[in-house]
Symmetry: C2
Subunit: 437 residues, 2 copies
């Protein structure tokens, strides 16, 4: 007999079927034994009344894997609206020990329980609410890629082992590469820009590594980044529109596709308008200073408090939980970004903020070979260094106006799923203290 999944039971009412899965819950009620079996599509409720069958489960614990034959009966109170009756049980994999963590009830995500959560990760993820987080994550990635494929993007894989520390910036992990100094890539920045000269539009979804010494709720050593780069942009606005549309479409459709599972998580409703509000960093500093009395005018970047504040502001005023902080100040400028020709104290770069944190930075790039070299020198970066040889070649032999973003997938999942800590959105997070499992 062919196995049937829980989500298919509704099409088999009145029939005898075979189901397979993990015992998720077991209880006695009015002389009957009810067991819930979990398979990849959800739960199945089974009524076992035959004593011989009940006996087969004696001494076996949650997690035991069973194959069960039974008749599908309509039953309002059961998960999915159906129940299996007249069950005949075969134990496929017996489990004799009680699991270290109870998986049928919502797991604690409180900050002082995170170690328990991660120490028992492989079992805790069997909880259906935990699974929802990672099913949503998988579907978000699928939808993001489809959005990009539909817009003519080519997917690339750039190397994760790179010479020295090309981009500078945050701390890197160093390694010995057959006797040469190498480090783990913090981003595909240079590679994706070079590939604009080949494919015009490229993206990569892959790991990025940051040896962050700080243990905050938004930092881990290994993140999943979506890197986008697109050539022949008309202007800065076109880039922001493109990324905004991606976020709007993927977030709303994934939540809609998982409506039932997400209901159980009691998430606040997502508020997004098709056009995300845009405020310049200067405007935000002014508004924040006026609202709070704390003077941030002239600060290099938005503080975490300002990021939260402007998101709350946009949610109330514009009805949108995503907001662009545009025209980052020159102090935040990286050598490959384009300075605003209309206001050289600012950069043609925006932070995309969502529910209080930065999801992505979206800058236009300097595509003029000579200006780029000047900007490198201004930052004391040696354009003659071997690390930049190929990169600069791409510009010397023609790169069009281009821009892109580095977009934090983990943060997107975190905020979409209402999680406090980025680690909760990662299957096996890596931080300064955690290297296993």
């Amino acid at each position: 007999m062919q196995r049937i999944l829980s989500r298919e039971l509704n099409n088999h009412i009145g029939e005898k079927v075979l189901i397979e899965g993990w015992i998720h819950k077991k209880r006695l009620l009015g002389g009957l034994t009810f067991i819930n079996v979990r398979d990849r599509s959800g739960l199945i409720q089974i009524v076992v009344d035959d004593k011989k069958e009940v006996e087969k489960l004696r001494g076996l614990q949650i997690g035991t894997i069973v194959a069960i034959n039974g008749n599908v009966v309509k039953e309002e109170r059961a998960p999915g609206g159906t129940e299996l009756h007249d069950a005949s049980i075969e134990v496929m994999v017996p489990v004799h020990d009680e699991p270290p963590i109870e998986i049928d009830k919502p797991l604690s995500h409180k900050s002082d329980n995170l170690d328990t959560l991660f120490d028992n990760r492989v079992i805790g993820l069997r909880n259906l609410n935990e699974q929802t987080i990672f099913k949503v994550r998988s579907q978000l990635l699928k939808q993001i890629r489809n959005y990009l494929y539909d817009n003519d993007f080519v997917e690339i894989q750039s190397p994760k082992i790179v010479a020295g520390n090309a981009e500078g910036g945050a701390e890197v992990f160093n390694l010995d590469y057959f006797g040469k100094d190498a480090s783990l890539a913090q981003s595909p920045q240079l590679y994706k820009q070079m590939m604009v000269g080949v494919f015009e539009r490229v993206f990569e979804i892959g790991p990025a590594f940051r040896a962050e010494l700080s243990a905050t709720t938004r930092h881990v050593s290994e993140v999943t980044m979506l890197d986008i780069e697109m050539g022949f942009l008309r202007n800065y606005e076109e880039l922001l529109d493109f990324i905004q549309n991606m976020v709007y479409k993927t977030a709303t459709s994934v939540l809609e596709d998982n409506k039932e599972a997400i209901k159980k998580l009691n998430l606040p409703e997502l508020k997004l308008t098709k056009q995300f509000p845009r405020y310049s960093v200067h405007e935000i500093h002014e508004m924040y200073s006026k609202a709070t009395g704390e003077n941030t005018i002239g600060e290099k970047d938005l503080s975490p408090a300002e990021e939260r504040w402007i998101c709350e502001y946009a949610k109330k005023k514009d009805g949108c939980e995503a907001v662009y902080a545009t025209y980052l100040p020159l102090e935040a400028h990286k050598f490959y970004q384009k300075i605003n020709p209309n206001d050289p104290k600012t950069v043609l770069s925006s932070d995309l903020l969502f529910r209080g944190i930065e999801l992505a930075t979206c800058p236009m790039r300097e595509n003029d070979y000579h200006k780029l070299i000047e900007q490198m020198k201004d930052k004391n970066i040696d354009p003659k260094s071997q690390a930049f040889e190929s990169y600069l070649k791409a510009f010397k032999y023609g790169l069009p106006e281009h821009g892109g973003c580095g977009f934090g997938i983990d943060r997107f999942v975190q905020k979409l799923m209402g999680l406090d800590n980025i680690k909760e959105a990662i299957l096996f997070p890596r931080d300064i203290n955690r290297l296993t499992p």
Copy 2:
């Protein structure tokens, strides 16, 4: 005016349009200047007859980026069957230096020219034939993922920084992780198996790292691996069928979708039957020994020569360039693989061979907690080691019969595109000598 892509010109015959792209080729013919402009969808031929317009290009080289207005005219001899006339040119990005490599003619992939190929990678990839390789690669990944999504798989991201060297085996890259010993993951093996207990079916496409000291045509330090793991398999054959169908569907459809571009590469026709022939390693040893006089019976694994031989054999006899070498000998057994209960000298594991090389190893896993521990001990692996704590937990609390594969994406692209060296299928390959670009 809105930019039109080369592939769209056919819909605009008789109209005035704007195109943008790189000058790919320039020649004088009968007093006229012909230029080919490259955009992300191909080439556009432009006839420039106005002297003032020709003058704008004086001193500019291949790679110069232009915006051109012109009238679309049907022209059989032009690429795509259309040509732009009455061109008016705007130079967007001038290029004054001659490119270091000629991109209009097929690039040399001869083994003694590979360094030239990779030293000029960012420019060489502007060659249309080179692009085809990586467009096919991107589309293969898309189709593989769609095949897996359609079969209920959840995409996961496992950590690339792992404690110690958990799996053993080939050489690893070591790194210092905030004072702890860590290494770069050689595969998501342990993680994907643990996730079978959660999602039943998982996959990951990501980088894997091997500190291979050998410089062969099939080894690089950083590869892109497709890792698949699926639970509740009925048997070994079901796994092989599943992977075979994936290869058949994705390879045939991607080649079909890129028929025109691939024609220019002069690839040999792909021969695949829907059912791939299956020969046991023992049979292959026997057949090979008989055919060549070289005795390999009893050898642990297939030699590279045997891999090539059986692929040639299957191509001739079965009309299929993919073949499974089944029932690997016990000597090749890894602790997590399932020994064949019907012949304990063999393992329920197959190598998928394609055009002479191994693409994937496809084993069933030992899912019995106690047998697994025995198998670890047999290999002198300490089941009490912290590295295996979570892994063994997943088995202790119930893992169903499962199997999967580690599938080399680079090798698949290499062999599908008729490339001699795996590096040619990778944008920026990393080997013992090459760490840049």
